[in-house]
C-alpha cells in the first residue's frame, strides 16, 4: 500500500452545460509530492482542483483520495473532504470569525473536538504558518499575505492527506508573495502532499516534483520542472511560457 | 354556568372608558355586569377596537355586543337587536367662545367633525346637502373634538351622553345644540341568534323594570330618566318595533 498514490484522477471530465472544460484528465499524486499545474486562463486548472473535492460535480471519470472515491454518488463527502484541504486565491477567510476560530471551526463542528483540543490544534497550525500571535485578530485586520497564511493554516489543521492550492499568491502584493511561498516550502519539507495551481515559476523550479501544463481541458505536457520549463516539447507550452515571462 | 363574553370599545366615555387604576368602567360596563347578575352568571368584558367587535360576535368569540350600538335599519340586516335601553339624541359641541344656536340652519357653510363609522356619520351623509354643511370623520370622538379645538371644524356631533362627558372634561368646549332623533341604543346580537337575544333581552327588561337602568343613568350621566322614556319603559316584544328582527310576541316578564 505504500506505493498507492494519495490522489488518483482517472479520465476526469467536466462540462458546464455544453461547454466541456475538462476532457479526460489522468493524474496521480504520490505521498509527499508537490505537483504544479500551469496553463493559460480558462484552460480548466481551477475546474480540476474544484472537482477534486467536489465543489464542482464532475461529469465523468473518477477521483480517488487515499482510496476513497469522492465522485461516488454515495460518497461521505464531509468525511472525505477532511482528507483534502483547499487554499483559495482570495483566501475566503470567514470575516466574522477570529483567525483562530477560522482555523478551528471545522475541528469543532465536523470532527466535534472539544474547544480546548480544537484550540490546541488550531494554535499549532497557526504556529506552523508563523501567526500564533494573530490568533485573536479578525481577517480584516491582517495583510493579504497573513490572510493567505491563515487560509493555509485552516486547511492543514484538519491534517489532510493532500492540499490543493488555487493561485494562492496571485491576489497578493509582490512583496507578500514570498512569505506565503515560504510557508508552502516548509509544508513540502514536512512531507505534505500538494497540488498547486500558480504562476510562480521560480517557486515551481525550486519546489515542484512534477509540473503539469494544461490547455483547453487536456494535459498537454508534464514532467520534471527542469524539463517542462527548460525544454518544453510542445509548441503550446513554449508559447505559454514565452507569454508569461514577457 | 359559562360566563358571558363581550367587548366594548373603550374610547367611548362615559359608556366605556379606562379606569386609570386598571380595567374599564362606564355605563355599559355596569350594564353588562347587571345583566350577568340578572342572568345568574358572570361576564367578561374586553376592551377592544370597534373593528374587532362585529367579526368577533359573528365568530362566536363574543355572545353579543355590549358597546353602545345605535339601532338602524341597515345594521338590522346583519344583526339582531334587543329593545333599546337609552335614547340617543345628537349633541353639537362647539368651542366655548362660539355662541349657541337652536336650529340646524346654523351649520350652513360650516364643517362638522364626527366619529368614524358611527350613526352620526350616516346622519351627516344624508343631511349634508340639505343643511349645506361639510363633515369630516375621525377615528375616535376625542379626535373629532380635538378638530373643533384646533379650529378645523365648527362643531363636533355625537351622542348627547358622550358630549356631556366631553364638555365636563374639557372646559374649552360646550354643547351648543341638541337634536332629538327618536333613535335608541340597544344590545346587538348575531343575526338569527334567537336564544341569546331573547335571554339577554329578558334580563334587560328586568333591569328596566327594577330601576337599575335609571340608576345607572343617574350615576353616569347625572340624568334621571323621565317617566315613559326608553330607560324605564319595558317593551312588548323582543327587539325594536319596526326594525328587522323584531319579535312582536308579547313577552311575559320573568325576573328573579
Amino acid at each position: 500500500m505504500k506505493n498507492r498514490p494519495i490522489l488518483e484522477i482517472i479520465g476526469l471530465r467536466k462540462a458546464y452545460a455544453d461547454n466541456e472544460v475538462l476532457k479526460g484528465i489522468d493524474l496521480e499524486i504520490n505521498p509527499g509530492q508537490l505537483v504544479f499545474v500551469i496553463g493559460p486562463s480558462g484552460s480548466g486548472k481551477s475546474s480540476l482542483l474544484r472537482c477534486c473535492n467536489r465543489l464542482e460535480e464532475s461529469s465523468g471519470g473518477q477521483i480517488l483520495i487515499d482510496g476513497d472515491d469522492i465522485t461516488a454518488s454515495n460518497a461521505n463527502l464531509n468525511r472525505i473532504r477532511q482528507k483534502i484541504g483547499m487554499v483559495f486565491q482570495h483566501f475566503n477567510l470567514y470575516r466574522h470569525l477570529t483567525t483562530l476560530d477560522n482555523v478551528t471551526l471545522a475541528l469543532r463542528k465536523v470532527q466535534k473536538l472539544s474547544n480546548e483540543k480544537a484550540e490546541k490544534i488550531g494554535l499549532d497550525a497557526l504556529a506552523r504558518v508563523g501567526l500564533q500571535d494573530k490568533a485573536k485578530s479578525f481577517p480584516d485586520q491582517l495583510s493579504g499575505g497573513q490572510q493567505q497564511r491563515v487560509g493555509i493554516a485552516r486547511s492543514i489543521a484538519l491534517a489532510p492527506k493532500v492540499v490543493l492550492f488555487d493561485e494562492p499568491t496571485s491576489a497578493l502584493d509582490p512583496e507578500l508573495v514570498g512569505e506565503v511561498l515560504k510557508v508552502m516550502q516548509e509544508l513540502k519539507n514536512d512531507g505534505m502532499t500538494m497540488m498547486v495551481v500558480s504562476h510562480e515559476m521560480g517557486f515551481a523550479r525550486a519546489a515542484a516534483d512534477h509540473v503539469v501544463f494544461m490547455d483547453q481541458g487536456v494535459i498537454v505536457e508534464q514532467g520534471k520542472p527542469e524539463d517542462v520549463f527548460g525544454a518544453p516539447s510542445q509548441p503550446r507550452t513554449q508559447a505559454f511560457l514565452a507569454r508569461i515571462s514577457h | 354556568s359559562k360566563p358571558l363574553v363581550t367587548g366594548v370599545d373603550a374610547t367611548f366615555a362615559p359608556h366605556a372608558m379606562p379606569k386609570l387604576g386598571g380595567g374599564i368602567q362606564g355605563f355599559n360596563v355596569d350594564l353588562g355586569h347587571a345583566l350577568a347578575r340578572q342572568l345568574g352568571t358572570t361576564i367578561e368584558i374586553e376592551g377592544t377596537e370597534f373593528s374587532g367587535l362585529i367579526p368577533g360576535m359573528n365568530a362566536g368569540k363574543y355572545d353579543f355586543v355590549l358597546a353602545p350600538t345605535t339601532v338602524t335599519e341597515e345594521r338590522a340586516k346583519n344583526m339582531w337587536f334587543s329593545e333599546g335601553y337609552l335614547n340617543t339624541d345628537y349633541s353639537f359641541v362647539v368651542a366655548a367662545s362660539t355662541p349657541s344656536f337652536d336650529s340646524l340652519d346654523a351649520l350652513k357653510g360650516k364643517t362638522i367633525a364626527l366619529n368614524k363609522g358611527s350613526v352620526y356619520e350616516a346622519w351627516a351623509r344624508e343631511n349634508a346637502s340639505k343643511y349645506g354643511f361639510k363633515y369630516d370623520v375621525y377615528a375616535t370622538n376625542a379626535d373629532a373634538l380635538q378638530a373643533v379645538q384646533s379650529g378645523r371644524a365648527f362643531a363636533n356631533m355625537a351622542g348627547n351622553t358622550v358630549s356631556a362627558w366631553a364638555v365636563k372634561q374639557n372646559p374649552k368646549v360646550k354643547v351648543a345644540f341638541t337634536l332629538s332623533t327618536g333613535r335608541v341604543w340597544a344590545l346587538a346580537f348575531r343575526f338569527g341568534d334567537k336564544e341569546t337575544r331573547d335571554k339577554v333581552s329578558m334580563a334587560l327588561k328586568c333591569l328596566k323594570q327594577d330601576g337599575t337602568i335609571a340608576r345607572l343613568s343617574e350615576k353616569w350621566f347625572g340624568v334621571t330618566p323621565e317617566k315613559g322614556s326608553v330607560p324605564v319603559t319595558v317593551g312588548v316584544g323582543h327587539g325594536v318595533p319596526g326594525i328587522e328582527g323584531y319579535d312582536p310576541t308579547p313577552v311575559e316578564l320573568k325576573c328573579d
Binding site: - | I54, N58, G117, S118, V137, D143, Q149, R152
Partner: protein, 225 residues
Amino acid sequence: MDFEALAFTFFNLNVIKTYFPDILAGMLVTIELGLVVSVTGIVLGLGLAMLRALQWRFLNFFIICFADILRAIPPLVVIMVLFFAFPYLNLSMSAFTATWLSLSLVLAAFAEEICWAGIVSVPKGQAEAARSTGLSWWQSMVYVVVPQALRLTVAPLTNRVIAITKSTALGSVVGLSEVLNNSQSAMSASGSATPLMMGALGCLVIFIPVVLLGRWTETRFAWKQ
C-alpha cells in the same frame, strides 16, 4: 365547518354591492396618497443620505437624530401633532396634507437609512475614479455612487414603501377616507364584517403590483454579467 355563516359574515353580497363604491373611492385615495408619499419620502430620504455622505458633523448629527426619532415613534403621533397642533401656530393643513407630510417624513427616515447603507456599500474607488476625472462631488454622487447604491436598496425600499403606504390607514385619526377606514366605517354602518374582506382585497389589488414592480426592478437592475 360553517361555510354559510362564514360567507354571511365575510362575503355578504348585499353588503358588497352597497359599499363597493365607498371602498373603491377609498382605494383611489390610498393609491394617490401612496404614490405621493413614496415619491416624496424616497426623494427626501435619498437626499438626506447624500447629504450625510458629505460627512459634516453638525449636519450628520441632525440627520441621524431625524432618522432615529421618526423611526422610533409611532407615525400616528406625527400625524396628530402635525394636524392638531400646527393650527395653533397658524399652520393649518388638510387631512391629506398632514398624512402625506407625516408619512413622507417617516418614510424618509427609513429610506435615509436604507440609501445610506447602499451608499456605504459602493466601493470607495468608484467615487475616487469619478473625482479624478474632474467630476464634482455632487456629480460623482449623482452619476456614479447613487445609481450603484440604488440597486442594493430596491428590496428593502419595496418593503418599506409597502409598509408605510399601508399606514395611510392612520389617516383616520385626522379624518382621511382611505380604503381601510372606509372599510371599517362600512363595517360599522352595516353591522357586517364583509367590508373588511373588501378592504383586504382592495389592498391586495393595490400592493401586489408594487411588490411585483419591486421584484422586476431588482432583476432588471442586476449587474450585467
